[in-house]
Symmetry: none
Subunit: 196 residues, 4 copies
DNA sequence: AATGAATGAGCCTTCATTCAT
DNA sequence: GATGAATGAAGGCTCATTCAT
């Protein structure tokens, strides 16, 4: 991974352009124009267009995965782990929307390459494990299909790349809280007032 | 034997090819090969590549919308409306995965054109209204953010295009039921065992 | 191998352009201009630039080889076989100079691919065998290094692509005769008439 | 330790790279990598890629020419002059194969520039003169086409760049001797023992 | 002398689209 | 309706060359 002066500019420009036009729909000329250089000059930084895609997408993907791995070994109730995962996922979307959009649109759930399929799978599995833990501990519903729940949660979060307007960390936290609430408690009214 | 026009073949082939390679990544030659004709011949059926995209995507989009519209005026509890919407959405995915994949990947939540943005918005709104109704009737949680809930549900369902293996209507119904359960009741264990 | 209407034009143009500018130095635009179409249109005939190179070069290479193979099994004195090989080789150069130039410049003696290396080797071997036969039959010098002789003869003939001006079959036959004479008898004056 | 300029390294690297990939097929980056510097740095030594080509090729071309010029004015029988020319030519190929390969492939017999065409022509002419002298002195066959003979000899020698494996001076001398023998005496068995 | 970066031009190839047959 | 051929416009990538540091 080269570290020349304008490397970050290049990747940031690529994230913006790819997320707006799609990887296939964007030309390297678009990216170069966004950075302020000619398309040929990009090749001082990358070896291929695909390289650039991965460079855009890798750091956040790794952060997400690292966070989920660390959470796994912590001693927390499943519901709390779930809230944490959602919080970090949503915060990354808030801070790095274009990067994550590209990941979601171009890589997640596609069979791009073994490496990325493995990352995908591992993240899915870590989320799934949270549901499994919850079910086994009795905190979550016994009949829960953990894999389905994980897929649904990830889908709901990734779908944010289609509607979320980033830039407000407070709102990100609010969204994360609501999402967690829905997945934990559902939308039905609590029978809180049930007898005592 | 009347040789019917091969319009349906063309659209089906396009759905398969677009869902596999993406709209941008697929060439009309790919589509033509899949139907068994030459790319020039496609222009006996379509006026442009984009035409073909819309042709692939429109019927299911309209079915989804029609269903949601009809449901809106029915006299059913919100939870039941929600179950119905999920069921139809999932069944369409089961029956027409390639078509829906193309819609989700290329059109949903993108600003392709006013027409499609309107359809998107209307469907979203109809789903949102179910949550609003539920909250107003007291069946759903008062503090619920209906828009967020609708977006999450749609995201979770559309994400199925990345993992669902179609062809089994029974499994489709099961998935729909589980999804509805999670969104209605959450994953937390019910305090069913409360006395009496 | 496609056979559309202008296939031969395309290959002939490529032969001219490649032989003039070299394969690497020639652009497909050059070739297209020579045929009178746009460079993109060439791809209705070929799959890649290299394809075109092989198409240019294959027919004559095969003719040369076929001729040498047929000669091998004929019952002729070695000196006559040698004259025949030279004659055919020189005639092909006379009739198809640009094609042969491309072969000599870009393919002969280079390790382009196994297929071509094999053709090269076989032709060399067939020529070498003529010298071996001659030496074994006593017609040629016993101490002759057949491989060196074959290489030298082929080199001398192929070098014609750098100087020969084609279009005169009679001159081609004359050149072939002289070449054969030199290789058979050398340039030294015969001591034939020496008695007296 | 004085660090001498790396001019020679640069030229040697260029010779290797050009002879392997061809002048057109080789990039200056290839050359730079072979020397161990970056392509921009090459411009501390050369003014253009073509410059480098000429630098690679000139010394040996001049040596060949100088040798042929000196030989011309010596008082030697034509057959001896021919042996000398062949010997020097082959020895240079043995010692400097990559350089000569580049010359043969890219320059000899092409109309690169007047300067090089003149060198070509002069060398050819000097070789031709040897055959003329031989014919006039009666040592060589009267009917000999001196130009054809010279072209054939040069072709045979230059063709060595396609097959010769350098590094063994003794073998170089052997090859030179055989080549001279073939051109002088041909391959036909001598009727030396024919008396009676 | 060397480097890293940028330039600008060109090249192979792809592709949506058109059209005569 | 279908085909083969052509078009024109990009697009990804390479590369000789320049230049400030």
């Amino acid at each position: 991974m080269p570290r020349p002066s304008r490397w970050d500019d290049v990747v940031a420009a690529a994230a913006r352009v790819f997320s707006e036009k799609g990887f296939g729909g964007a030309s390297l000329e678009d990216v170069a124009t966004e950075v302020g250089m000619l398309k040929g000059s990009l090749y001082n930084y990358i070896k291929s267009k695909e390289d650039l895609l991965f460079a855009v997408v890798r750091p956040d993907a790794e952060e997400l995965l690292t966070n989920a791995r660390q959470l796994k070994v912590k001693d927390l109730p499943a519901s709390e782990k779930l809230r944490q995962i959602v919080l970090v996922h949503v915060e990354i979307i808030d801070r790095h929307l274009p990067y994550v959009s590209v990941y979601v649109q171009e890589i997640a759930g596609r069979g791009i390459s073994k490496e990325w399929a493995d990352m995908d799978r591992e993240y899915m599995h870590l989320v799934e494990q949270v549901f499994v833990e919850g079910a086994e501990s009795g905190a979550f519903d016994r009949g829960l299909d953990a894999k389905m729940a994980a897929r649904s949660l990830i889908g709901a979060m990734n779908w944010m790349t289609r509607w979320y307007e980033p830039g407000d960390p407070a709102q990100a936290r609010a969204v994360a809280a609501q999402l967690s609430d829905v997945f934990l408690s559902g939308v039905l009214a609590r029978r809180t007032a049930d007898p005592s």
